[in-house]
């Protein structure tokens, strides 16, 4: 059985994995449906149609300006899914590049890079994204790039520690002794070994990216011409006290999408390496061994060396 299929099967074996896949399937279906049929233009206000209840015409009802909520939700799914996946890819690229590089380069270079990474992490991703969007406009590309960069630095730290762990294994020394070039070592030994943890984190990052995009839309920084769940929430906020109901639709959609990615991450962790069941595969912020590792921390160095 091909490894990809085997991984898929293992994901479906774990309850979290099943739930995650199911939830994400809902999102994907919504996206597909949106390309085939959107009942109304989600952005066009229809005066007089405000706050219609659920009906055959309006599956989720309408908002304060008469916009159909169902159309908004399925159209918004496109943006969320796209941003989630793109940000994860960007984060993956940046995280892998920075993380692996800082681990394999000679000590001075590597540690300076690690240090710079730690400093960059001091800037919250939303703040960074805020500024970038303000400077360069709210296109999807900018959003994904901004979020991807922010998450990527966090991932870099995780992957740097992971790469060091792999490097400390004897077979790396053996490979070097037999003359394998650095590049080859990277591709044949390092990347495959850090891949499981990277993939799990990327799934979690996708979830975080979706929340980030919704937040940025909520703040009004993204393009007005694109339907997004965050935008919908922004509109609905004004009439929240009087009409709390409609919030459930874009809100619920958000939770489904994010929960889907989070649970998928758990399922991936179970599938890719049962060893990761202990701390190693937990959320970035849940990893005691990777949190605040000062450059000269002897304990961390101790942990990274094989016993």
């Amino acid at each position: 059985m091909s490894p990809v299929l085997r991984i898929l099967r293992d994901i479906l074996r774990s309850p979290s994995g099943r739930a995650g896949v199911a939830l994400l399937a809902i999102v994907v279906v919504a996206v597909v449906v949106s390309y085939l049929w959107i009942p109304y233009d989600p952005l066009r206000p229809v005066p007089g149609d405000d706050f219609l209840g659920i009906s055959r015409d309006h599956l989720f009802g309408t908002d304060a300006s008469g916009r159909d909520l169902f159309s908004g939700v399925i159209a918004g799914a496109r943006v969320s899914l796209l941003v989630g996946v793109t940000s994860a890819l960007v984060a993956g690229a940046i995280g892998t590049l920075l993380g692996v590089l800082s681990a394999i380069t000679p000590r001075a270079v590597g540690e300076s890079v690690a240090y710079v990474i730690d400093v960059l992490i001091a800037l919250p991703t939303i703040v960074l994204a805020l500024v970038l969007l303000g400077l360069f406009g709210g296109s999807l590309f900018t959003v994904s790039l901004a979020i991807g960069f922010g998450s990527g630095t966090l991932l870099a730290r995780v992957l740097r520690a992971e790469t060091k762990r792999v490097l400390s294994h004897d077979y790396i020394t053996a490979a070097a002794a037999s003359g394998t070039s650095t590049l080859r070592t990277v591709f044949r030994h390092i990347l495959p070994n850090i891949a499981p943890i990277a993939i799990v984190q990327l799934s979690l990052i996708a979830g975080l990216a979706i929340i980030a995009e919704a937040s940025l839309s909520l703040l009004g920084l993204t393009s007005l011409s694109r339907p997004s769940w965050g935008r919908m929430l922004r509109e609905l906020q004004a009439t929240l006290s009087a009409n709390p109901g409609p919030i459930a639709y874009p809100g619920g959609a958000l939770v489904i999408a994010v929960l889907g990615f989070n649970l998928l991450g758990d399922g991936l962790r179970d599938a890719l390496d049962p060893r990761l069941r202990t701390n190693r595969g937990a959320l970035l912020s849940e990893r005691p061994d990777l949190v605040v590792v000062p450059a000269d921390d002897p304990i961390a160095a101790d942990r990274e060396a094989p016993r």
Binding site: Y115, V116, D118, V119, L120, I121, A122, L123, P124, T125, I126, V127, L128, L130, V131, L132, L133, G134, L135, F136, G207, I211, A214, S215, L218, L219, G220, L221, L233, Q237, L240, S241, P244, I247, G251, L254, V255, V258, L259, N262, L263, T278, N279, A282, L283, S285, E286, P288, D289, V291, V292, P294, D296, D297, P298, I299
Partner: protein, 317 residues
């Protein structure tokens, strides 16, 4: 020990320097013509030139940087290109809202997540432990603003809790209303924080519970609970203390959004407004302040880490 502290302070200084460089690069180098960005599409060439003069954009980059940093070190974070008020004065005002908010939600979330996390760890295999774990899983997926909306929908108007806003006369003028204005936002942020922190405490506690020295403690005659408290707590707290520092960054991110949702005149909303108004000189100062705050807290956390763990103290010179 003194040497260690001094060295850490030096590292902090370097970090602050690097951060300031990064922020400067972000806001001066990247955008190309910053004047055009600030002025907008419809600014006339004279207006653009005036902006350039004011911001010193015509001078060489390194000169601009030093001028900015020189000002910063003397307490001058710049001047808003639009309103002419100083960044520092405005920040001071906004901090009276953001400060208490951040502090209160941090304290609340720690107070809630530690016992919850420990409980979840000790009952890891029983139903209530699993249920807690599931709930926190949901909590992580819930964006803070959604929690905010739910709280507004359910609690606003009751107990005199406003759905948004902050009294104009602020703390000195209107103490109780100020407090009440912060209750829902604090609860919102604290909920989001607790969901993440609790899982972390749980994971860390579980790892400690599996350690051999806990087994030794039990073999000495301590009950599970006493072994956990006497030996496990200090060990488990190390990574938790460390993560608190990191959580600050995500807390600040949450603050930005929550201040908008609850319409609070704090630093976060000021930042959003300034970006919207393209007042990037002010943004530069504000972002620097945020980065400084996170780095300093990180430094303090690191210090605490070394104080708690004797292995780090005596090891390297």
């Amino acid at each position: 020990m003194i040497w260690f502290a001094l060295r850490r302070v030096a590292l902090l200084a370097v970090a602050l320097f690097v951060a300031s460089l990064a922020i400067f690069a972000l806001l001066r180098l990247l955008p190309g013509d910053l004047a055009a960005v600030i002025g907008g599409v419809r600014a006339s060439p004279e207006q653009l030139e005036r902006i350039r003069e004011e911001l010193g954009l015509n001078r060489p980059l390194w000169e601009q940087y030093f001028e900015w940093m020189g000002g910063v070190l003397q307490g001058d974070l710049g001047r808003s290109a639009l309103t002419r008020s100083t960044v520092t004065s405005e920040l001071g005002e906004k901090l009276t809202v953001t400060g208490p908010l951040v502090l209160a939600s941090s304290v609340l979330s720690v107070a809630a997540s530690v016992p919850l996390g420990i409980y979840a760890a000790m009952r890891a295999r029983r139903t209530d432990g699993l249920a807690l774990s599931a709930v926190s899983q949901l909590g992580i997926a819930l964006p803070p603003f959604l929690v905010g909306y739910v709280l507004i929908a359910v609690l606003a108007g009751k107990f005199g809790l406003p759905s948004q806003g902050f009294p104009r006369r602020r703390w000195s003028g209107d103490l109780w209303r100020s407090v009440r204005s912060l209750v829902l936002p604090t609860l919102t942020l604290a909920t989001a924080q607790t969901a993440v922190l609790m899982r972390f405490v749980r994971t860390s506690t579980l790892e400690v519970l599996n350690q051999d020295y806990i087994r030794t403690a039990r073999a000495k005659g301590l009950t599970r609970l006493r072994a956990m408290f006497a030996h496990g707590l200090r060990n488990a707290s190390i990574p938790v203390v460390a993560v608190l520092g990191i959580q600050l960054a995500s807390l600040l991110a949450g603050v930005v959004v929550i201040e908008t949702v609850f319409n609070l005149p704090g630093v976060g909303r000021m930042l959003v407004d300034d970006v919207g108004k393209r007042d990037f000189d002010k943004v530069q100062g504000t972002v620097l302040l945020i980065a400084v705050a996170v780095l300093v807290i990180g430094f303090l956390v690191d210090l605490a880490h070394h104080l708690i763990d004797p292995r780090l103290r005596t090891a390297r010179r």
